[in-house]
Amino acid sequence: MKVIFKTSYDRDIDLHKDVWSRGRIAALVAVMAALPFLVGEYYLAEATNTLIWALAGMGLMLLVGHSGQVSLGHAAFLAIGAYTDSALMNIGLPFVVTFPAAALAAGLFGALVAIPAVRMSGIYLAIATLALFVIVEEMIIILEPITGGVGGIQAPAIEIAGISFDRYGHLDHFYWLCLTVVVAVTWAYANLLRSPTGRSFLAVRDSEVSARALGINVTRTRALAFGLSCAMTGLAGALMGHYIAFFNYELFSVFISINLLLVVTIGGLGFIQGAFFGAILITAVPQLIAILRGAARDSLGVDIGGMPGLDTMLFAMILVGFIIYEPTGLYGRWLKTKVWFELFPLARRDMFRRQKSYLKTERQK
C-alpha cells in the first residue's frame, strides 16, 4: 500500500491521488481520442452510444448516488433535452446555441419539478418522478407542432464553424464531439464533488437532519442537485437525439428510465466511474446476446431469437444478482479487487463484510 507524502494542503483536495492516477486518466482519454483510427465504423458507433449512456448515467448518478434521491422518470429529461435541441435546430438555430439550451431547458424543468418534489422522501419522490414521466410522454404527443407528435422528429445534422458533425457522414467527428462533451462534464462533475456544493450533496444524502443541523439548506441543495442532474441528462438526450437521427416519443420509454437506473446501480452507486462501468455493460450486453444468439443458431440449431423480452429478462437477472450479492456494483468490486492485490497476502474476506442492520423506520408512530 502506497503512502502519499503531502507537502501542501492543496494535495488534500486534489482530484488525483498521485501522478500515476493523473497519468492513467490522461492515457485513457488519449486512447479514447485515438479510437476512430483504431476501430471500424460499427464499433465506433457503439462507443459513441456508450459515451452517451455514460453521460446520461452521470446525470442520474449525481441524483441517486450523490444526493440520495431516486428518480424513476429520468427518460423524461432525456426526452426534454432531445426535443428542445432538435426543435430549436429545426427552426434554424445553430448547435452551439441549441445544445446548451437543451441542458438549460431540462435543468430548469427539473429544478421546477424538484421544488415540490424534494419535500417528499424516498418512495414518494420515486413515484412522483414516474408520474412526471408519464405526463411528459403524453405532453410530447399533445404538443405535435413542436415535437412531431406520434410521427416523430428529425434531428438535423450538426455543423459547427463549417465542420460537419453529421452522425452518418462523419461518424468520427460526431464521436469526438461526444467525447469532448463527456470529458468536460466528467471533469466538471469531479470538481463539483470537491466543492462545498458537492460536499453538501453528500451530507444531505447521508443524513438530512444532520445536514440541516450543520447549516445546509436542504431544500435548496436537493433542488440544485435535481436541476444539475436533469441538465446533464438533457445534454445526453440531445446527443442521443442526434445519434438516433429520427425519433419519436417511443425512444424515451419507461424502460430507458429503468436502464438508466440499472447503469448507476450495476456500475456502482456513488462513484463517477460507476456510470461508465454501467454504460459499458448496458451497451455491451445486447451485443453479446446477439453474438450468442448467432452462435446458438449456427452450432446448436436452436433459434432463441423467437423469445421476445429475453434481453430485459437477462438485465433483470443481472440486476437482482448485483443487488443481492454486490450492492456496491462493478466499481465496488473493482475497488475490492484492487485492495486485495495491494495488501496481497494480508487481505481477509471479512474486510468487506456487509453490516447487517435492522430497517431504520421512517415512521414515528
Partner: protein, 291 residues
C-alpha cells in the same frame, strides 16, 4: 343517465386499481418496502387463473380455478420474499425498489414465454351479461368487481384487527426491532404479508381480466395503482381503496368531458397535486423522519 353509467364503470375499474394499491399498501405497512412488481404480480395471477379456468388450457370450474390460482400466487409471493427479498433485509429502501422492478421484468418474461404476448380473454361465467336497471345497463362484471372488492376489504380489515398474525404484522410494521424483541417472528410475518399481497393481486387480476383481455404488459397498470396508493396515503388500507376509486371515476369523466390526452394524465395530475399540497397523502400515517 350517461353520467351514472360512467360512474358505475368508473367505480368498478377504480376498485381494481384500489385492489392493486391495496397490495402495495399491505407490503408497505408491514415491511416499509414498496413492491414495484405488484402490477406484474396481478398480471401473473390473472394468467395463472386463465391457465386453470380456460377451456383450451386446464378447463377447471371457475371458482376452484380461481382459488387454486390465488393459492399458487400466495405461494409465489411468499417465495419471492423468502428467497429474494429477505436476502436484502436491512438494506436501504432504494435497493428494494430496484430489486422489485427487476422482479417485475422477470415475471413479465415468465408470463410471456408461457402464455405468449398476444391478448387473451379469461372465460368467466358472467361474461357479457348485464342487468337492466331502469334506462341504464350495469354489466355483471362491474357488480361482481365492486362486491368482491368490498368483501375483500372487510376480510383484510378483520385479518389485521382480530387475528394473531394480523396483530403481529401491525406490531412489526410499527417497530421492527421492538417486535422482534417481544417474540414476533418478523421475517416470517413479512413473508406471509407478501403471500397475502400475492393473493390480493390475483383477485385484482381476475377481476381485471373479467372486464377485458390481458397480455403480459398489463402490469404497467401498477403505475396507476401507485397513484391511487399515494393519493390515499401509503400507509392506509381504506385510503388506497378510495384513491383507486377516485382515479377510476375521474378517468372516464375526463375522457368524456375534457380535451383528449388529459384523461391519460389525470391520475398523475391528481397525484402530483396531492403530493404538493399534502405530501403524505389524504389519509396520512407518515410523520417526520427520525435521525
Amino acid at each position: 343517465m350517461d353520467l351514472i353509467q360512467l360512474l358505475i364503470g368508473g367505480v368498478a375499474s377504480g376498485c381494481i386499481y384500489g385492489l392493486v394499491a391495496l397490495g402495495f399498501v399491505l407490503i408497505y405497512k408491514a415491511t416499509e418496502g414498496v413492491n414495484f412488481a405488484q402490477g406484474d404480480m396481478m398480471m401473473l395471477g390473472a394468467f395463472i387463473a386463465l391457465g386453470f379456468v380456460n377451456s383450451d388450457h386446464l378447463g377447471l370450474a371457475f371458482i376452484p380455478g380461481i382459488v387454486l390460482a390465488a393459492a399458487l400466487m400466495g405461494g409465489v409471493g411468499y417465495g419471492i420474499d423468502r428467497f429474494v427479498v429477505r436476502q436484502i433485509f436491512g438494506q436501504p429502501q432504494f435497493a428494494l425498489v430496484i430489486l422489485t422492478i427487476a422482479l417485475g421484468f422477470i415475471l413479465r418474461f415468465i408470463a410471456g414465454s408461457i402464455w405468449g404476448y398476444s391478448p387473451l380473454v379469461l372465460e368467466t361465467p358472467y361474461a357479457g351479461q348485464s342487468v337492466p336497471l331502469g334506462r341504464i345497463n350495469i354489466s355483471v362484471a362491474d357488480i361482481v368487481t365492486i362486491l368482491v372488492t368490498g368483501l375483500l376489504t372487510l376480510a383484510l380489515w378483520g385479518f389485521f384487527a382480530y387475528t394473531r398474525t394480523g396483530l403481529a404484522a401491525q406490531a412489526a410494521s410499527q417497530n421492527q426491532m421492538a417486535a422482534y424483541i417481544v417474540g414476533v417472528p418478523v421475517r416470517r410475518i413479512n413473508s406471509i404479508i407478501w403471500g397475502l399481497s400475492g393473493v390480493v393481486a390475483t383477485i385484482a387480476g381476475v377481476l381485471f381480466a373479467s372486464k377485458g383481455a390481458i397480455d403480459p404488459n398489463v402490469g404497467l397498470l401498477g403505475i396507476k395503482a401507485f397513484a391511487a396508493a399515494v393519493i390515499g396515503g401509503f400507509g392506509s388500507l381504506p385510503g388506497a381503496l378510495l384513491g383507486g376509486i377516485l382515479i377510476g371515476v375521474v378517468e372516464p369523466l375526463a375522457a368524456r368531458y375534457l380535451p383528449g390526452g388529459i384523461s391519460q394524465m389525470s391520475p398523475y395530475i391528481i397525484m402530483l397535486a396531492v403530493l404538493v399540497t399534502r405530501p403524505n397523502g389524504l389519509f396520512a400515517q407518515m410523520h417526520a423522519k427520525k435521525v
